[in-house]
């Protein structure tokens, strides 16, 4: 017994319009024999999944979608910046410490090692200013904090 193939009567161009109508900006749609391919770049994995779900939500008989290839790429978010150059970091640390006379620090291989002592009320400000230099690490484990 021959089972007739499920050939869609919806032309590819129409399938494409149907899909584009529900598609995210930044996503390109191409269609061949009812097979929909999604491509392009979005900002998150969630957006990539949502794009596919939007197509799945269409009534296949009306839209003509037979299957979906999801080739959408998720944009890599830029990595945080790190300044690991000791000379520049030391100069920056020197400027910060002008306002914290009881604090001293040494820079080695991108890590700021903080020493001396400080009032608790000023600790956050010191850490903010040192982190602003974007070192590999701000090590305040040897700093004495007075309440």
């Amino acid at each position: 017994m021959v089972v007739p193939s499920c050939k869609s009567n919806v032309p590819d161009a129409t399938v494409q319009s149907n899909v584009e109508a529900v598609m995210h900006p930044g996503v390109s749609v191409s269609v061949k024999d009812g097979v929909v391919t999604l491509s392009g770049t979005v900002n998150s994995e969630a957006d990539k999944i949502a794009a596919e779900n939007a197509v799945k939500a269409l009534d296949a008989k009306k839209s003509g979608v037979k299957s979906i290839n999801n080739n959408i790429e998720v944009a890599a978010t830029p990595a945080p910046v790190v300044n690991a150059e000791d000379a520049a970091l030391s100069a920056g640390v020197s400027d910060v410490l002008k306002d914290f006379p009881s604090v001293s620090a040494e820079v080695k291989e991108g890590i700021i090692y903080v020493n001396g002592e400080i009032e608790k009320a000023k600790v956050t400000r010191l850490k903010q200013m040192l982190d602003n230099l974007k070192p590999i690490k701000t090590d305040m484990s040897a700093l004495k904090v007075n309440n």
Partner: protein
């Protein structure tokens, strides 16, 4: 416990507070958070959460550099020193001569950002020079 787990409350707050240019990553055993907060309250809240997880930042396993939006040419900025006047210098560095001072609480004008740490400013009296940016807060 991974850094992402230890600081999950901080990461969640950073992701849900409307920060722009948010970058979160981990390298060399340190969690890095960078971005621009819409206002000073958001930035302060992030630091309060960080301090609650790692009091006095003793572990040193986070580097957080969040600035406050509004630092554009012509913007008004407020001097937020602890108690003293803020030096206005001829060039961007503490080795540069002092050419003026701005009082704590004074509102001055940002001319341009020389770099992350030093901004060129002008007071209402017309004194012009460089101030350490960490002591200037954009007026919303």
């Amino acid at each position: 416990m991974s850094l992402q787990d230890k600081y999950s409350a901080l990461i969640a707050e950073a992701q849900n507070s409307g920060l722009t240019d948010l970058r979160i990553g981990e390298s060399d055993g340190v969690l890095r958070i960078q971005g621009t907060a819409p206002n000073a309250d958001v930035k302060n809240k992030l630091w309060a959460i960080y301090d609650s997880i790692d009091p006095n930042y003793l572990s040193g396993d986070v580097v957080m550099d969040v600035d406050v939006a509004g630092a554009v040419a012509g913007a008004k900025v407020k001097v937020v020193t602890e108690s003293s006047n803020l030096n206005i210098r001829k060039g961007p560095g503490t080795d540069q001569p002092i050419v003026g001072k701005a009082a704590k609480g004074e509102i001055i004008t940002l001319i341009s950002q020389a770099n992350d740490q030093w901004w060129l400013v002008r007071t209402d009296d017309g004194e012009e020079g460089y101030c350490y940016a960490q002591y200037l807060s954009p007026v919303q």
